[in-house]
């Protein structure tokens, strides 16, 4: 059988090109590696090398032909011992090798794929129906009750800081593979004292002070997690995780997928996120929507000490990479925490902190406290607000939000971050997709102002979302 020489593609998107020049003629003997032709597109020129050896049996496409389709037969090479008669049957069977004008209109291969998710997308959320694992479609199925949290009888009062420390200590006691790494986590006891006492109990093999090399130690910890260790990486604040975001997303979040399920990454990235007080633009920012955007990560943002403890323990046990967003201003606040070593909270489950009937307020992290205070103010004004503490941002607890909105018909979302492509935007979309008919007012978003964080006290106060903004937004959606 003569060997077919096909029109090669210069790039993945090339569909056709010009056969500019033949360097051989019929009857020439060629060896693999010989340049036999030159092809061109409007962007580039490339030499065609022979891959096989033999004799040029037939040149099918003449020099200078334009619009030659990729993969069309341009020549035949006769193998040793074959003569021209071998060409008799092939030429007939693959005659369609000529210019490919009609084929091109029929199948512009590389453009066909995206069409499915854009042009042809029905009014259903383009990405919603099939792949989105965090959203059960449509209001009806959303009615399935979420599983109830275990109830506890004995409690102790703890700060968020202590709860986080205890969560780590308990998990480290239970699992030798868990270790903590970060700047000032050991000898200094944590820049914000969250790892206080861990060095004493677990030693410097498991509580590791690093140099200031975020991308380096994040990559290292991720590599260790590929091997089954369970690192807890503390970022002094999430602002500095921007140095390391490449490994969080490109390595930790994607490797399971890229390896076809072989390499998991049981790692927790934790530290304070969001605005601190008066530290200016480079040290005051909410990263919730940055990480929540990315498949392959789970994103948690606790509010209370119980959230912090139960969710951090769950995060450490989870086999996936988790971004755990704490808040510096919350560290010193005290809450009741179940007094039980087995206390763990489920990831992906929001909590209704206050029940209400007139408006749903969704918040996470420090904004939950502000939402609860706003709800009190609203109650005095005769508006019954339901406050949902998201606790996990991704996977988002769509059920709890939708069920609440079906009851109240009004929604206010709250976050410290910027509004553009924020968590509120996602929630508004989800509610529109699943409970459009239940909404009596457009969803209102309370967010940080669309500016880098200013340092001046007066401007900083104006840049951050406050209790009063939530009250105003709730009244607005209630048309009051």
């Amino acid at each position: 059988m003569p060997i077919e020489v096909l029109m090669p593609a210069l790039s993945p998107t090339m569909t056709e090109g010009t056969l500019a020049k033949w360097n051989v003629k019929e009857g020439d003997t060629i060896a693999s590696g010989d340049v036999i032709a030159e092809i061109e597109t409007d962007k580039a020129t490339m030499e065609v090398e022979a891959v096989d050896e033999g004799t040029v049996g037939k040149i099918v496409i003449a020099e200078g032909t334009e619009n030659v389709a990729v993969n069309a037969v341009i020549a035949y090479i006769l193998e040793e011992g074959e003569d021209a008669s071998a060409l008799d049957n092939v030429s007939a069977s693959s005659g369609g090798a000529a210019p490919a004008a009609e084929e091109k209109t029929a199948a512009p291969a590389e453009e066909a794929a995206p069409a499915a998710s854009t042009a042809s997308a029905a009014p259903v959320a383009a990405s919603g129906a099939i792949e989105r694992s965090d959203a059960e479609p449509r209001a009806m199925s959303v009615m399935n009750a979420t599983q109830d949290e275990k109830t506890y009888t004995s409690f102790k009062t703890q700060t968020v800081r202590e709860a986080l420390r205890d969560a780590m200590a308990e998990e480290m006691r239970g699992d030798e593979n868990v270790f903590v790494m970060g700047e000032e986590v050991a000898q200094y006891q944590g820049a914000y004292k969250v790892t206080q006492g861990l060095l004493d109990e677990f030693g410097d093999r498991r509580v590791v002070d690093t140099p200031i090399t975020e991308i380096g130690f994040t990559g290292m910890a991720t590599g260790a997690a590929f091997m089954g260790l369970k690192p807890i990486v503390e970022f002094m604040t999430f602002n500095f995780a921007m140095q390391a975001i490449d490994h969080i997303i490109n390595s930790a979040a994607k490797t399971l997928y890229m390896s076809g399920g072989q390499l998991g990454c049981p790692i927790v990235f934790r530290g304070p996120n969001g605005a601190a007080a008066r530290v200016g633009a480079q040290h005051s920012q909410c990263y919730a929507s940055w990480y929540a955007h990315c498949p392959g990560l789970k994103v948690i943002a606790p509010w209370s000490a119980a959230d912090a403890k139960g969710l951090l323990k769950a995060a450490i046990r989870d086999p996936n990479p988790i971004v755990f967003l704490e808040n510096e201003i919350m560290y010193g606040q005290s809450f009741e925490v179940p007094d039980d070593d087995d206390f763990v909270l489920p990831i992906g489950q929001a909590k209704i902190e206050r029940e209400g009937t007139d408006v749903t307020i969704v918040a996470f992290s420090i904004m939950v406290g502000k939402a609860l205070k706003a709800a009190e103010q609203l109650a005095e004004q005769g508006i019954s607000a339901e406050v949902i503490n998201l606790r996990t941002i991704r996977p988002l607890d769509v059920n709890t939000i939708i069920r609440s909105v079906m009851k109240t018909n009004r929604l206010v979302t709250c976050e410290e971050g910027w509004h553009f492509a924020g968590i509120g935007s996602e929630i508004a979309s989800v509610v529109m997709e699943h409970a459009f008919d239940y909404l009596d007012a457009p969803v209102a978003r309370v967010t940080g102002e669309d500016v880098p964080m200013p340092y001046a006290a007066n401007l900083e106060a104006l840049a951050l979302p406050q209790e009063q903004h939530i009250v105003d937004a709730a009244k607005a959606v209630c048309y009051r």
Binding site: E183, E184, Q187, Y188, A191, D209, P211, I212, T213, E214, I215, G216, N239, F240, M242, Q243, A276, A277, R278, V279, G280, A281, Q282, H283, E449, D450, V451, P452, P454, Y455, A456, A457, N458, L459, L462, A463
Partner: protein, 336 residues
Amino acid sequence: MATTKRKRATTRADNQASSDDLLKYYREMLLIRRFEEKAGQLYGMGLIGGFCHLYIGQEAVVVGMQSAITGDDGVITSYRDHGHMLACGMDAGGVMAELTGREGGYSRGKGGSMHMFSKEKNFYGGHGIVGGQVPLGTGIAFNYKYRGEDRVCLTYLGDGAVNQGQVYEAFNMAALWQLPVVYCIENNQYAMGTSTQRHSSSPDLYQRGMAYGIPGEQVDGMDVLAVKEAGERAVAHCREGKGPYILELKTYRYRGHSMSDPAKYRTKDELDKMRKEHDPIDMVKKLLIDGNIIDEAGLKDIDKEVKAEVAKAAEFAQNSPEPDVSELFTDILIDA
């Protein structure tokens, strides 16, 4: 040029500074010290918020380096930036008013202690992300070379910053393209609570450019004359078109990392020894007195002047109004 790894502890003996120079260094270092003491005080009064990183103890570094360049050269540093700004000739009142977050501050109150700039004085910040200023300063040097200007950029970084990967990416490009940048490593021996021994595999930070062929020297950063002399050598190297240079300035910060750091990771003896035996201001003071350049009364007059300047700055910083609320939404993008 081959990699030099001169470990010469340059000392005062090598130097002859003029009386005027010595007096100038004394005054400039004293201004930084008094300014920082005042900032610490205002912080304690709640007039300055957030992080505030004082420069006390390290004054000889910026004053010495500044005397090795001209006003046309650039300077960029981290968040520990007050001293650099004063050394660049920025107005103490404008710096202090930025610390208090007022309209009269260099960033009109929007930057804060860590983020100040003065295009006029060629001071380019004021950066909060450890190591971030290193490629930026290298880019400023790139700009100088690109435009064919005879200017150098002093790029300051801490001993902790030296471990950031982007520092080496910058070193490589600076050496590759022979950029006029002097990397001034202020080795104050601690990155927050972590001592150099605990964060760096090799304690000799001046050698960090060896792999790129960048010459480096270690300098007594408590000795302003030694700093100036080494600075002049480094700057001359850049001006001759030979590319980057590294100076490791061994120094010490007397205060905690920031106002909220009790600095329990080091002994009081260590600190006292530094203060007593290596204080950069005392050193120059002794030269002035021993050389009969000025007497105690003369020094007192300088002290008074400096104190008055700082008091004026503090007053301005307290009386300057907060920025107008409309400032919240300005300077985000330039209208195009």
